[in-house]
């Protein structure tokens, strides 16, 4: 399956890019995370991240869909 992944803040620094196209067989978003974390080695554990699909927060156990856009959301610090 092909999808797009967006990186923000310290995850972007770790990945070295804002976005990449990813081919994956991950069964859910948690597995997708772990796959990409193993590649890019960001420091924040999954328990401190949230995940979003197509611009909406999603659950880690949801399956990714072909062509979707996934983002891992590190702890926010606006305000």
């Amino acid at each position: 399956m092909n999808l797009r992944v967006l990186y923000f803040a310290s995850l972007r620094d770790a990945a070295g890019t804002e976005a990449e196209d990813v081919q994956t067989h991950a069964a859910d978003l948690a597995a997708l995370h772990d796959e990409l974390q193993a590649r890019h080695r960001w420091a924040l554990p999954r328990a401190r991240l949230r995940v979003a699909v197509d611009g909406r927060f999603a659950g880690w156990h949801e399956a990714p869909r072909e062509g979707c856009t996934v983002a891992f959301i590190p702890p926010v610090s606006g305000g």
């Binding site: 923000f8 803040a9 959301i73 926010v76 610090s77 606006g78 305000g79």
Partner: protein, 142 residues
């Protein structure tokens, strides 16, 4: 018109506040977050805010809609800066109008707390010593 917005330009508060006006409104509470010269004991010389714009807009609108449902208020709005900011710059503005001040204060406080907790915006601080870092705080006790 959206009640929540990200802005890459300095905020024009009188223009933002105009939408809160209503003949039924007797109270308006507002909050401004300013860039301070220190954080967690370190000197700060400026910062950059970055956002996931699509998700931030969605979450921000959801927070303001929820505030209008939870509190007895008339109108509410919030704008958050993105990009490079200097000490003293306005980073975020929240305004709420209501018939009475109890609801205006409560809703204003609730909105800024929610925005800080769940809108995907990240602060990159530039320290006086020359280094810089992303702020990824532990979630505050709610």
């Amino acid at each position: 018109m959206a009640r929540f917005a990200l802005s890459a330009q300095p905020l024009d508060i009188p223009a933002l506040a105009a939408r809160l006006r209503d003949p039924r409104a007797g109270a308006c509470a507002s909050f401004e977050g300013w860039v301070r010269d220190h954080n967690d004991g370190r000197g700060v010389r400026g910062l950059r805010y970055e956002a996931y714009a699509e998700l931030a807009a969605h979450e921000g609108e959801a927070i303001l809609a929820e505030a209008l449902a939870r509190f007895d208020v008339i109108e509410a709005a919030c704008v958050h800066r993105i990009g490079e900011l200097a000490i003293g710059d306005l980073a975020v503005w929240v305004g709420v109008s209501a018939a009475h001040r109890d609801a205006a204060f409560a809703a204003c406080r609730w909105i800024i707390d929610e925005v800080k907790a769940r809108v995907p915006i990240w602060k990159h601080e530039h320290y006086r010593e020359g280094d810089a870092g992303w702020l990824h705080p532990e979630p505050a006790p709610r």
